[in-house]
Amino acid sequence: MSAKKLLVGLTLAAAAGIVLAAGADLGQAEKQATNWTAIGMFGAFVAFTLWITKWAAAKTKSASDFYTAGGGITGFQNGLAIAGDYMSAASFLGISAAVMASGFDGLIFSIGFLVGWPVVTFLLAERLRNLGKFTFADVAAFRFQQTPVRMFAASGTLVVVAFYLIAQMVGAGQLIKLLFGLEYWIAVVIVGGLMMVYVLFGGMTATTWVQIIKAIMLLGGATFMAVMVMAQFGFSPEAMFAKAVEIKTGIAAGAGKSPEEAAKAGFSIMGPGGFVKDPISAISFGMALMFGTAGLPHILMRFFTVPNAKEARKSVLWATTWIGYFYILTFIIGFGAITFVLTNPQFLDAKGGLLGGNNMAAVHLANAVGGNVFLGFISAVAFATILAVVAGLTLSGASAVSHDLYATVIKNGKADPKAELRVSKITTLCLGVIAVLLGIAFEKQNIAFMVSLAFAIAASANFPVLLMSVLWKGCTTKGAVIGGFLGLVSSVALTIVSPAVWEATLGNPKGSAWFPYASPALFSMTIGFVGIWLFSVLDGSKRAQEDKAGFLAQQVRSETGIGAAGASGH
């Protein structure tokens, strides 16, 4: 696909308010010449992480080691790992590309992804740690009848993980084709294979450390780029913005615009443009991002890897700090790409577009400020990023199957820990194979909606059930399960009939989508919450009495941690 088509695709996606940022669609990419420096650096990263996996494997004996690294991760380490889960390749490449293309609008994206974290800190982090053991279902099902709630939570987890995973795999294939010059399917198989090795042998310990190392590499690399850019302008934002406006004006003038129009187009990067078209879409999309963060199973799972509530809360503060810092860096990198990349014929094709497409903004900038070796480093970091995120997702899906479905639902909570561990490893293998197959199957599909769908489902199904079960005494088994499934089904259904899927992916004519807004969250979250409330209030069963009677003990434990499972090091 040509760079121009990519640009059009990017603009369309941004106009539809689709999440480019959290991880997903990097569009179709051209295969580049094989980049041996990048492959060498990536090889070194893989060798190092495999050595860590070997070390982690020796420590991974019990189910607790496998699911939660034995609860022995510190708040600072966990903060880096959470930040790593969140700073995916597309959030690095996608946001910097969006900033390069439309300036301020890129910042609106980043802010949406950041603002969920305080809410997680204030309402959930400590309570999750005090109530849960391995999965968020431990918390959601704490005082309820186990089987139905676990089945809901496992569905919520697997659906979110599936969409997120497909998006990451397709992104991985495209990105690696672009950066390393490898075939798409080879890239997907490498990601799937390495991810299975990390999770199978090293469990949560390896998954966490791979994520931490990658987060440090990504933050270090991005810092270097941002500092190099700012140094060119004497660390004056005004000078950087002025140069960027000048260049954008020049490009617009070169495209045949009158001087007045060109000046307007150039200055447009300094204020909001077409990203937010109608207020309802904007708010709905904002809700999906804000509350989806609090319902992503692979993120929630990380709160069980720290020894206590205090470390849980510290870890979110560190995560928020790193992610906020990272988004400021990507903003500078995006403007740096305007000033260094768009002006350098070395990085442009005949039509003035970016070689390899807009998502290469940060990669070309790496070359411009740090030469070929740094280019290789950034490419390797981007690959490592996908690998680490995919490993976390798989582990979270595997725990939902082994801990929630197998151990609790099928074996009634009496599963042999060894058997449970075996089930999670078999599930990891299955998920790995499925992820590779789906990644290959979806190569040519427009999957831009998948990450925003994952966030919308997390916000409409997982988050309401979690919040209501923890904070509202009147919530019952029936209410949580019916309301949760209503949120799940409505968010998926509304996404299918929204323009992003109905028109862009299924190819129906423009304007035929039944649901006009960019995100279903405003409606599906309401459906989820009202469903939980209504079916809880209407629930007159004997079980409902038990559910409500269990609230006091649950609340005491969620507030104080007395009786909470497992401190570290066992």
Partner: protein, 112 residues
């Protein structure tokens, strides 16, 4: 946890204080975060020219410091919560834990 222990904890003054203070503080801060974020989004939706208005002679616009401000606010408000939780809430929580691990459910003197 047995119900009697839960009831004993629930009746402890430090626990009640912890629960009330943390809950109201948490909801206040959540409200503040939502006002700031949705305020920003609504500003983007309804008053684009305001955010694109120049601050001085140069190209700097009002939107830039506001956008950056939202990012900084997000980190700072999280830090404010964690700071108070690390000192005040943890102290109250420790008081509850100590009272419960004491051999008899004796009345604690002077704890507040």
């Amino acid at each position: 946890m047995e119900t009697s222990l839960a009831q004993r904890i629930a009746a402890h003054p430090s626990y009640r204080e912890l629960k009330a203070r943390r809950s109201s503080f948490g909801w206040w801060l959540t409200g503040a975060m939502m006002v700031v974020y949705y305020g920003f989004i609504l500003l983007v939706a309804f008053d684009k020219p305001l955010l694109a208005s120049r601050l001085g002679e140069g190209v700097m616009t009002l939107g830039m410091p506001i956008g950056l401000g939202v990012i900084v606010f997000t980190v700072v408000i999280t830090a404010i919560y964690v700071r108070r939780a690390n000192s005040e809430f943890d102290r109250l929580s420790d008081e509850v834990q100590q009272a419960m691990s004491a051999p008899a459910p004796a009345q604690k003197g002077g704890a507040r």
